[in-house]
Each structure stands twice: as C-alpha cells, then as structure tokens.
Amino acid sequence: MTFAVFVVLFTAMTLAFEGFGTPLSSCYLLISYAHVGILAMGMTFVILSGGIDLSVGTVLAFTTVFIAKAVSVWGLSPWVAIPVALFLGAGFGGGMGFLIHQYKMPPFLVTLAGMFLARGLAFVVNIETISLSEHPFFRAVSSWKLYLAPASFTPRPFLKAEAIIFLVLVVFCLYLAHMRRFGRTVYAIGGSESSATLMGLKVARTKILVYAFSGFCAALAGVAFTFLNTAGKANMGIGWELDAIAAVVIGGTLLTGGSGYVLGTFLGVLIYGSIMTGVGDYSNLGSAGQRISIGVLLLLFILVQGLLPGAGKTRSS
C-alpha cells in the first residue's frame, strides 16, 4: 500500500511542480535525506522488535560534534575518528538495550533519557559549531560526486557519499532482515515476545543488539551528515527521531512490532523526502505545510493500519 501511495504522490508532485521528478532532483532527494533514511533503517529494526528509540537524533548530533572535534582539535585522522564514533554509537545503543531488557524498563523512558544524555554529552564535547569545510578529507568527500549518466545528459544526475552510504545500508538491512536469524528473531520478538521466548529464541541478545544497531545507524547518519554539511554541531537533530519514526510508520511498519518491511521504510523515506521537498521547496506552504502534510499522512496511515483486518495492533489494548 505504501508503494501505491508513493507512486501516486510522486507522480502528482512531478506534474504539479516544475523541476520535480527529474533524475537530478531525485538524486538530490536521496542525498538530502540520506541521514533521515539511515536513522530510519536502524529505527525499523527497533520498532519491529516492538520497541522505540528516541535517542537517534541526538546521537547523530553527538557524532557530528565528536568527529569534528576529534579531527580538527584533537588532530585525529578521520580514519580513526569515524570508526570510534560508530563504535560509541553502537555502545550507547547497546547500553540502553541492556537497561531495557535486563531491568524491564520501558523503552520510551530509557531512550528518552538517552536522548537527553546524548544531547548533553554533545555539548560537553563542544558547544559551538565546528566547521569541517577546511579539512582536506571532508572537503574531498563532500564534493565527490558519482555521476550516473554521461556528460551529455543534462541536467546530469549524480550521487554523493551520503546517498551511497544510505543505499548500501538499505541493501545490508534487507539482507539482515531476511537472510539472518537475527532479523527473523527481531520479527518474532515483535510479533509475540512470549511465543519467541517459549520457542527458545535468543531474545535477550537480540533485543540488546537491536538497540546497538540503532545507535550504530544514528552514528552512521551523523557521519553521513558531516559529509553533507561539513560541520559538527551539537545543537541539531532535534526531532529527527520523529522524522525517522514517521518514515518507518509510513513505510508500513506497525508500531506494535512484528510487522513491516525494510523496503517499506525505504519507500517511507522517499515519501517523506518528497513531501518535504515538494511542499517545502516547490509550493508556498513552507515549513507549516511540510509538517501538516507529514502529520496528516501519518494519521491516515495509522487509521488505515487500524482498519485493516487483523492489523488492529496500533490500537491500545
């Protein structure tokens, strides 16, 4: 169903807005919203397992600041700073996962605390924005383009590092979800944790790993963002977890867990991006219109999810 919405939406916007729907602008879409997409990939697994992760936005911010400071002030090589940042993200997520599973604490509260903690730590690392535009590595990566068509094709579409990372991650997540026991266990836990436990599945390990993966993705999104923005800023990413959640929900994954597709989230990200660009850049509605459209779309999706047979799982018991 998500696919149908996407097709309709995309076509409508292409017809309505000048300059939309061209290969180049589609590439811009992928590039500009790659970081949301990466967040959404990690979020997909968390939501599939029946949980939620509110910390990803601030972990993203933390990562950008950390990398920026490590590279500019502490003099570390990006080849060291980036893996360390990824490792920190995963560890942070794993820690939250441990608290959630071991002490049966509600994911909402724990990741809320995580969100606060990451934001605070980001400021501890550095309060002001650190620019990376002078750094050779980042300058090189952020200006690198992968051209998708010969030079004769104008406007010439291209992809950048962020988008590539996103696409590779999507493929990896597809593999993880469908071809690994880990992925199937995630689905099982979300579908019915009691059944999963009774079936002897490794519930504890999987739950912790899911949050670790989400943290990893948040950090990865931060890395991607440094390529996009060439700066490290602690005071950003507010509300991005909600964007990720929105993309996941629009992509057809139920918030109660156990049902949904990685591919769906991918489409959800595209829809999200389309609306944001379409409404934001091309129409007069601006910021307001963006948010209202996303909100209305979310509402519609939730309502439809609730009305589908056997899918009344967004409903409170």
Binding site: Y175, H178, M179, R180, R181, R184, T185, Y187, A188, G191, S192, S194, S195, A196, L198, M199, G200, L201, G258, S259, G310
Partner: protein, 505 residues
C-alpha cells in the same frame, strides 16, 4: 512410558497439587480432565519444566525426568501445544515451524528453500498441504494448531501435550484434528490431551485421568467409563465440612410463580458464545445456571450484562424490551454482574478496599455527585463486617488481600448497588469454606429483600442448596430446566449426560 508419582506443588496460599499420580502408556492418547483450578495446567507445567515440583518423582522411558526449563523438556522429547497457540502471527507457516533452528548456509545466511521443504515435510506427516509461505495469521485456529503440532514434530517429540486444543474449533475441524492424532499415535507418539469436552474425550482417548482440587480422583479406561460416573468424578463431592453449613432454603419457598418475570430472555445468542438461550428470572427468585466448564454460563451472563453484544435474541426487563449494549445500560436497568475473572474484570489492584467497594455505586451516581467520605467508610465497614472480609484496614490496597477476600469485596461492590438482579459468576471460587457460607447466607438475604439472583457455579451443592430453579447448560445450549423438588445434584448431572448422549447420536 511416563510415570509421575506423588507430585505435589504448593504456591503461596494454595496447594495446587497434592500427591498426584499419573501414568501414560506408549502410543496412547490420554485425556487429562478437571474443572478450573483442579491442577491440570500446574501438572503440565511441572512436566514441561516451567515449574519444579516440591515432592514426587517423574520417570520418562525408565529414566528420571527433571526439566528445569521448557527447552530442556523439549530436548527430552516433550512438546507442548498450548491453547493460545504460541506462534508468531506475522511470520509465515514455514518460518514458525523452523523458528530458531533455521538451516543456514556457509556464511550464516538463511536458506529459505530448505525451510520451506522441511516445513512441508513436517506438515505432510500430518496430512496437511497448505501454502507454507503464507502468513500464519491468515489461517484458522485449526490450521494454526496443526502448525504448532508440526513444529513439535519437527523437534522429534515423543510425547505431545495438547492443552485445550479444541476450544476454538468447529466440529469438522475437531474431526480433522482427531484423524491426525490417531495417525500420529499409530506412528508411536504418545499424547496427553487436556480438555473439558466430554464427547471428544469419549471419541479420541484411550484412558482418562480426572483431577479435582489438586488430587487425582481416578484413572479410567475410556470405553469402560459411563458418562454419569465421569461427570460425578469431575464435579464430585466438596470437602465434608460444607455439610455443617446452615441456611438452606426450605422446600415451601420453592416454585413461586409470578405474573411478570423481571428478566425474560428469548433466543439469546452470539456466534462462538452461546446459542438460542431462553430464560426467565422472576422477582426475588434465585435461579441457578449450572453446567460444565465451557457450557456457556459465563457467556450468557456477559450477554445479559452487556459486556458483549448479542447477535440474536431478545432481552426484556420488567416487561419492557431493552437493548443492552454496555455494562452501563445493564446497570441502569438494575442488573449487576460479579465476574468470575476477578483479576481482569474485577479488582482495581492499587485502589483500596473501600474504593473498590463503592466504585460501582459511584459509577452509577456519575462523577459529580461524590459519595461523602463518611458514607463510603460506613458502607465499607458494614460490608467488611457482614462478609467477614479480612483486611488490615479499609484503606489497604485490594491487591494485598487474598483471593477469597478480594472476591468478597467484589460481591460487596454489587450488593452496595441494591440491584434488582444480581448475577454472581462463580462467587465462591477460591474462597474458604466459612466465607462460602456467608455468601450463601447473603444470597438468601437478597431473596428475602426481593432481589433476584442469577447464580452461576460449578459447585453443584451450592446450586442445589441456594436455587429455586436451575437452568442446565451444555455445550453452549440450554440442556434443560429443573425447578423445586426436581433440583438435585443427580438430576443436574443426569440432564447433562442425557443431553450429551442425545446430541452424540
């Protein structure tokens, strides 16, 4: 093949099993029966490693058995299919069968084709060929159970335990299940079959063990056991002390006739619940609703009280045709309902005894007209005394009270309302003997005040003692009605047995 000797298990406050013996022969289908609270599920949980027994021994194929977790039990060859069918709803059939043991390739990636093939092979053993790629939730409960059985088989089970497998199946599906079970039996599998459906037990099982109040009442060979004896064994005699109780209704009071019944129910029914129930309750009359577990007594009560909506039939209160669509409607009509599931439908755990007690009364007054605190406390103390509710203070959270005392608070809750008709569903379940007497006295008292009572219980002596008329339900239909002198335990059981035999033909 399996021998359990002297199994005892005590939980805080209640002895769930008391020296139970259980024998299972290889390749037989053995039915385990008993009413709620008899100890069936506890016994099974001990067998499958969810609990450990306090006393007793278990021997499987000559070797001692002591599972510490469901997985160990599984490794020993014991597989269980629960009533709730523990499958993951949004995954495919094949996946559910292989979950946790998916065959993997060299890099650790899942081999989907192997999953599909193994699943199909497992289902083939059951004579089932369905699309294993489909979501398991799209199938009926009957098929889901088959899938759960298939999973158990794939685990190389030698003993299969089925916990209430037929509760949600229709007759054809039950037959299908039984064909499969017989097949498996021929293949050497031993099966323990827990159920409360009498005719199914007679159809499929080789032997029957009956539990009652944590004790083994008897072990029988099915073909040799007459129905009446089985029913008697299950409903059996309560502890002798009950005979000390007084307050019985004299014969002269029975069989009262009235012009207009308070409640008249015709053809009441709802799919999957009950079918075509006719009933009348006169003012000030105590009518009993008797029957075995699963006969539809609670479902009937729930329909009358508006917890669920009836799909067919009519309800008349005081001669007026009414539509009862929610508990509020019923309460407004003067009907009160004390549910049998007090944890889910009864107590508000963290609220105090007093608050729980006055809640329905307050509900009927609406939020604005608050009962003054003194009035609340007066009511609370009154009923605490009257019913002998053991609580440190009226302000104690109700969750701290024992089950029996909680039940008393719930009964008091409805008594507060001075209803015209009080439906009591298993009001004496889990209550000590003394309290039972108090409740029965209350029921008599209600009668004297002119309140009608619909009394649902699986304790036959109570029904016989307190009721002027008894409706007997069986397999979700009305099996018969007894009044006045006809009421006796024998007659109730006979009505059930005869109804079974009639429908079995």
């Amino acid at each position: 093949m399996l021998e359990l000797r002297g199994i005892s298990k005590t939980f805080p406050g209640v002895k769930a099993l008391d020296g139970v013996d259980f024998t299972l022969r290889t390749g037989e289908i053995h039915a385990l029966m008993g009413e709620n609270g008899a100890g069936k599920s506890t016994l099974i949980k001990i067998l499958t490693g969810v609990y450990s027994c306090d006393e007793g021994s278990m021997v499987l194929d000559g070797r001692p058995l002591n599972p510490d977790s469901p997985r160990t039990a599984e490794h020993a060859g014991i597989s269980t299919v629960y009533q709730e069918v523990n499958l993951v709803p949004d995954l495919s059939v094949a996946e559910n069968i292989m979950l946790g043991r998916e065959p993997t390739g060299p890099l650790g990636g899942i081999r989907w084709r192997a999953i599909r093939e193994r699943a199909e092979k497992a289902l083939d053993r059951l004579g089932l060929s369905i699309d294993v790629q489909r979501n398991v939730s799209t199938f009926s409960i009957a098929i889901k159970q088959m899938v759960a059985v298939a999973r158990a088989l794939d685990l190389d089970a030698r003993l299969l335990i089925l916990d209430e497998p037929t509760s949600s199946l229709d007759d054809d599906e039950v037959d299908q299940l039984f064909t499969v079970l017989r097949q498996l039996q021929r293949g050497g599998l031993s099966i323990i079959f827990i159920t409360h459906f009498l005719d199914q037990v007679y159809k499929i099982s080789d032997r029957i063990t009956v539990l009652r109040n944590g004790r083994q009442v008897g072990e029988y060979a099915t073909p040799d056991l007459p129905r009446l004896e089985l029913i008697a064994a299950m409903m059996g005699r309560e502890v002798q002390e009950i005979e000390h109780l007084g307050g019985t209704i004299t014969m002269a009071d029975r069989g009262r006739e009235q012009a207009e019944p308070f409640l008249k129910v015709r053809g009441l029914g709802a799919p999957g619940r009950v079918e075509d129930i006719d009933m009348e309750v006169n003012r000030g009359e105590v009518v009993g609703l008797a029957g075995l577990l699963g006969s539809g007594r609670t479902e009937t009560a729930r329909l009358i009280f508006g917890v669920e909506r009836a799909a067919s039939g009519t309800i008349e209160v005081e001669g007026e045709h009414v539509r009862i669509r929610s508990p509020r409607d019923a309460i407004r009509r003067g009907i009160a309902f004390c549910s049998e599931d007090r944890k889910v439908e009864g107590i508000i755990p963290t609220l105090s005894v007093r608050e729980n007690l006055i809640l329905a009364l307050q509900g009927s007054r609406g939020p604005m007209r608050r009962l003054p605190r003194e009035e609340q406390e007066t009511l609370a103390t009154h009923y605490i005394q009257a019913l002998g509710i053991k609580t440190p203070t009226p302000e104690t959270p109700i969750e701290n009270l024992s089950g029996g005392n909680q039940q008393k608070v719930l009964v008091a809750r409805w008594l507060c309302m001075s209803p015209q008709l009080t439906i009591l569903d298993e009001p004496t379940r889990g209550i000590d003997v003394g309290a039972k007497a108090e409740i029965e006295k209350l029921v008599a008292g209600l009668r004297e005040e002119g309140t009608s009572v619909l009394f649902i219980s699986s304790e036959l002596e109570e029904v016989v003692r307190s009721c002027e008329r008894v409706l007997v339900l069986c397999d979700r239909r009305k099996a018969g009605e007894l009044s006045g002198e006809e009421i006796s335990e024998q007659n109730i059981m006979r009505t059930i047995a005869e109804y079974h035999e009639d429908t079995a033909r």
